[in-house]
């Protein structure tokens, strides 16, 4: 089902009424988890997978119902360089108050009470105080990946989550459970439900039809097949290709009655010609790999897992893939999760693991693995230098 069908949008979250939004299994599952009372729901997914669009849409729908209160918080609008733990909690509290139309007097008093001593107590008491609203509350917190990047301790927040009887937290972002847990052990301990957001299925991508309809001579099914062949339904990449196709017709660089859409060439231009620097989605996958798997031992395990996947066209059962690392299977599982959150791999509903799609397979190839294994200054091997002729 689609919400609207005006244009393709590659990049940024989809606002209702503006662009193509395709509902997926996660849309229904999220509401289901909230309604059955899950306290902490986590969406740890790569960039441009549709997390923010899903959060906004669900928040709007819940607010419209009237029987509960919902607030959306973007940590990118709260946390900044040098932020202190108490500042961060107070800022979040102030934001929540603003959304719910509450006065800031209470939180100011709370802060004075715990000034300089106990950010955790401030956080706990604020979350508990939300019970006075006498309604179920859902708080969506986006961009959780900021927490380890800013080297923030959020332990007080995670340990407070279970204390609020009537509050469900939905946390989303490009985050590594391991990295967050490093400074906030309470995150490991918190009882949480992870909700995967799967890429578009081929049937779901049929919705692209209506945007290609305006070009009657295009064989839209074939074009969508070609897009899917490269993207396996990754939302951003699929939309980017769709956007490029429609733009090329609208800008008249192709004749209006043309049937020629060379998806392979479009993919080459958009995603392959400059390898990881062709597109931000690839550059950020690479950057996140380096961030999440900075530790050399973890990095090597990740590369071995990835290499095994690269050596086969098929998906591999997760248990088989991790069998080699049975001495520390929990750690291997965290590493595999990190690979998925970076965007390099995917795990399906049957716990089969594969490389994200053909674009990723082409860019993050054997040479990329080799570079990762080499010295930290990897570009030394790939950068030209200038020496005078002898």
């Amino acid at each position: 089902m689609i919400r609207n069908s005006k244009i393709f949008q590659a990049g940024g979250w989809v606002r209702e009424g503006d662009s193509l939004y395709i509902e997926r299994q996660a849309d229904q599952k999220l509401v289901e988890y909230i309604e059955r009372g899950e306290r902490l729901i986590c969406l740890a997914e790569p960039h441009q997978s549709g997390k923010t669009s899903l959060l906004h849409k669900t928040c709007d729908e819940l607010q419209a119902r009237g029987d509960l209160l919902a607030a959306y918080i973007d940590l990118q609008n709260i946390i900044t360089h040098g932020a202190l733990e108490m500042q961060s909690y107070f800022s979040i509290a102030k934001k929540i108050n603003k959304v719910f139309g509450l006065s800031n007097d209470e939180i100011k008093k709370l802060r004075e009470k715990h000034e300089g001593q106990n950010p955790k107590a401030f956080c706990l008491n604020f979350i508990k105080s939300l019970s006075r609203l006498k309604k179920k509350i859902v708080i969506f917190i986006d961009e959780l990946g900021f927490i380890p990047l800013y080297d923030l301790a959020f332990d007080g927040f995670f340990s407070s989550i279970s204390e609020a009887e009537n509050v469900t937290f939905v946390l989303a972002g490009v985050f590594s459970t391991k990295l967050i847990g490093k400074k906030s052990p309470a995150f490991f301990d918190a009882e949480k439900k992870f909700l995967p957001i799967y890429d578009f299925t081929r049937p779901e991508m049929k919705e692209f039809d209506q945007l290609f309809d305006q070009f009657p001579n295009i064989d839209s099914q074939r074009v969508i097949d070609d897009i899917y062949k490269w993207t396996s339904g990754q939302p951003y990449m699929s939309q980017k290709i769709g956007e490029t196709i429609t733009a090329s017709f609208l800008e008249s660089s192709l004749p209006p009655n043309s049937t020629t859409v060379n998806v392979d060439k479009i993919v080459e231009n958009l995603f392959l010609k400059d390898y990881i620097y062709s597109d931000n989605s690839l550059a950020s996958a690479n950057a996140n790999f380096n961030l999440f798997l900075e530790d050399p031992v973890r990095c090597e395990t990740a590369l071995k897992i990835y290499e095994n996947l690269l050596n086969t066209e098929n998906a591999l059962p997760k248990a088989d893939l991790l069998n080699e690392f049975s001495t520390d299977s929990q750690e291997a599982e965290y590493i595999l999760d990190d690979l998925c959150v970076c965007g390099l791999t995917d795990i399906d509903e049957n716990s089969n693991v594969k490389i994200k799609n053909k674009i990723f397979r082409t860019v993050f190839n054997e040479k990329w693995i080799k570079l990762q294994r080499e010295d930290e200054d990897k570009t030394a091997a790939t950068t030209a230098s200038f020496t005078p002729n002898e």
């Binding site: 990118q76 490009v174 400059d274 002729n389």
Partner: protein, 325 residues
């Protein structure tokens, strides 16, 4: 056109290129063309080069400075703005104060605001630079005023550095990257035509050989020729042609000297006529630094040295293609 289309489509922009690529004139033209389309839009142009070192010192001081300028140019009551800011200073993070400022402003401002942040490379070495770009992304993604706010950032940078600028949530996800690269033959021909100069292949070839397509230097050459009321072919044939660029060359040398290790490498060019490019262990920082200045042009996996410092001579060399993988 891509930039204008982006703004009309409610996208923010990231304009980047080497030194002298023409970012400021590009922004000038962007504003004038957009205003012709929509005179109701409000443009606030902020140049980071005008900020004091104190203002650039921390992310807090930078944002406060930006907010003050925006408040003044949007005719807001400055005392109220700073009062609101001070009420929660230290209690909340600066990003919350920034958000509240824009939120309050847009409640009263019934216009679109395009905020232009020029010479943003002034903060490139600051520890908070990545977070600043993430904060920008947060602002333009904010649903309450995302329809009313667009941000245009321009800076000396190249593509790889631009990609690295956002840490957690890439600025490019929301903004459209506009890379101002060296002029190609067609663009040089168009410029020559605008001056009513000879635009033969030979003239274009000589210009490319001399200044490698750098807009700054091409403009210097053409303006000088126009002011001297001379024929461009005569100017190019003159043995004194290099003198036209003397002051620009000094600026260039000063920029190069700020790239650690660059002088040592370029020293090697002094006595030579040609340079061969080999894959070896050039320090990435030097390479990146030279690319940003415009000494190198790194596109489509080819590296072209645009010019070398050899006394006062400028020469262009084209290197072998190289591949990352």
């Amino acid at each position: 056109m891509k930039a204008l289309a982006g703004l009309y489509g409610k996208r923010s922009l990231f304009i980047y290129g080497a030194f002298g690529a023409g970012k400021s004139p590009f922004v000038d033209r962007l504003i004038s063309e957009y205003v012709a389309h929509d005179s109701q839009v409000l443009w606030v142009r902020i140049n980071f080069s005008d900020f004091s070192s104190d203002a650039l010192e921390t992310i807090d001081s930078l944002w406060k400075q930006i907010v003050v300028v925006v408040a003044k140019q949007t005719n807001q009551e400055l005392a109220q703005v700073t009062g609101n800011w001070e009420e929660y200073a230290g209690l909340v993070t600066v990003q919350v104060s920034v958000f509240d400022f824009f939120d309050n402003m847009f409640k009263n401002l019934d216009r679109t605001l395009i905020l232009v942040l020029e010479n943003a490379h002034e903060i490139i070495d600051k520890p908070y630079v990545n977070f600043f770009f993430d904060n920008l992304r947060g602002l333009i993604g904010e649903r309450h005023f995302s329809d009313a706010l667009r941000i245009v950032v321009s800076m000396i940078s190249d593509f790889e550095e631009a990609q690295d600028l956002s840490v957690a949530s890439p600025f490019f996800n929301f903004s459209l990257g506009i890379h101002l690269s060296a002029l190609d033959e067609i663009q040089i021909a168009q410029l020559l035509e605008s001056y009513d100069f000879d635009n033969s292949e030979e003239t274009i070839r000589k210009i490319k050989e001399l200044v490698g397509g750098n807009l700054y230097l091409v403009s210097t050459l053409l303006e000088h020729t126009a002011e001297a009321n001379q024929d461009i072919r005569q100017v190019l044939a003159s043995t004194d042609v290099n003198r036209i660029f003397d002051s620009r060359l000094e600026t260039l040398r000063s920029l190069i000297s700020e790239v650690d290790g660059a002088e040592r490498i370029l020293d090697g060019f002094k006595e030579k006529d040609a340079i061969s490019i080999q894959t070896s262990n050039l320090d990435k920082n030097v390479y990146d630094g030279l690319a940003k200045i415009g000494i190198l042009n790194r596109e489509n996996r080819e590296t072209e040295i645009l010019y070398s410092i050899e006394g006062n001579r400028l020469k262009t060399f084209v290197g072998d293609s190289f591949s990352n993988f």
